[in-house]
């Protein structure tokens, strides 16, 4: 599953609506529950708990991609 698909599922929006401009600050669908789902989805994908610095870094698509690619 790509980062964009994972983020789209967390935000509960079609994948086509997720792009480089999707961010915690500017995307209406990115609410606190979506953020909760996103952190858990990334942890499930990576098979481990995120450390605190990784958790606070999840603010846009690039950050999600970076985290998935790095791990």
């Amino acid at each position: 599953m790509s980062a964009a698909t994972l983020l789209a599922e967390a935000l509960n929006v079609p994948s086509a609506e997720v792009d480089g401009s999707t961010s915690l600050s500017d995307t209406a669908a990115w609410d606190s529950l979506a953020h909760f789902r996103l952190v858990l989805a990334v942890e499930e994908k990576l098979g481990r708990k995120l450390d605190p610095v990784e958790i606070v870094s999840l603010v846009d698509l690039a950050a999600v991609e970076g985290l998935l690619n790095r791990s």
Partner: protein
């Protein structure tokens, strides 16, 4: 002065104790008995006590009343979050203000049907708007557990700056595990600038 005997409490601040209204809520400034009443369910709610980083897994009514402190309209504020349409308190916001103008904040929404409905954003924005316009407030501060994803989301969304990360800083009496905490801050001036608010006069 010995053991605080004779210690004078500052008088309530006429501006800070004014009522605050948001689109959906009245933020009602509570006196001590009201603050105890609206927060009493927290004393036996493990999830709330955990996220507030309290030292015990539950509290007696007496111990909780002592823990609430004395809201005085100057250094300690409890705002009941009252649903303007349906009535009833859905949560509480607490703010401690020290002599250096640091405002430490905590919020609990106990009405679970309001979770995920941007209560934090609406309430905290109104609190920040109100308190940042007082010359007595210089800086807002919040400390949250690193796995309190909702609070981390909310501080980030409001534009707070992450200023630190403590490893294994708090031993939870609920889970018996060491927990990391995150520290966030926002200068009152930065908030006013962000919101286009006038400086205190």
């Amino acid at each position: 002065m010995v053991l605080g005997i004779g210690k004078k409490r500052p008088p309530p601040d006429p501006y800070l104790i004014k009522p605050i209204k948001t689109e959906r809520f009245h933020l009602v400034n509570c006196n001590r008995s009201e603050a105890i009443k609206v927060t009493l369910p927290w004393r036996v709610d493990p999830e709330v006590l955990h996220n507030l980083m309290m030292g015990k897994p539950s509290y007696s009514k007496y111990a909780w009343a002592r823990n609430v402190g004395k809201p005085d309209g100057a250094t300690l504020f409890y705002h009941g979050i009252v649903d303007r349409h349906a009535g009833g308190t859905i949560g509480t916001h607490r703010l401690n203000l020290d002599r250096s103008g640091n405002a430490s904040m905590a919020i609990v929404v106990h009405a679970r049907h309001f979770w995920g409905k941007d209560v934090f954003d609406e309430v905290r924005t109104a609190i920040l708007d109100h308190f940042s316009r007082s010359e007595k407030v210089n800086r807002f501060y919040g400390r949250v557990l690193s796995r309190n994803f909702s609070s981390i989301y909310n501080y980030t969304k409001l534009g707070f700056r992450l200023i630190g990360h403590d490893r294994q800083a708090w031993l939870s009496p609920i889970t018996d595990e060491y927990c990391d905490t995150m520290h966030y801050e926002m200068l009152a001036k930065d908030w006013r600038d962000k919101r286009g608010l006038e400086a205190p006069t």
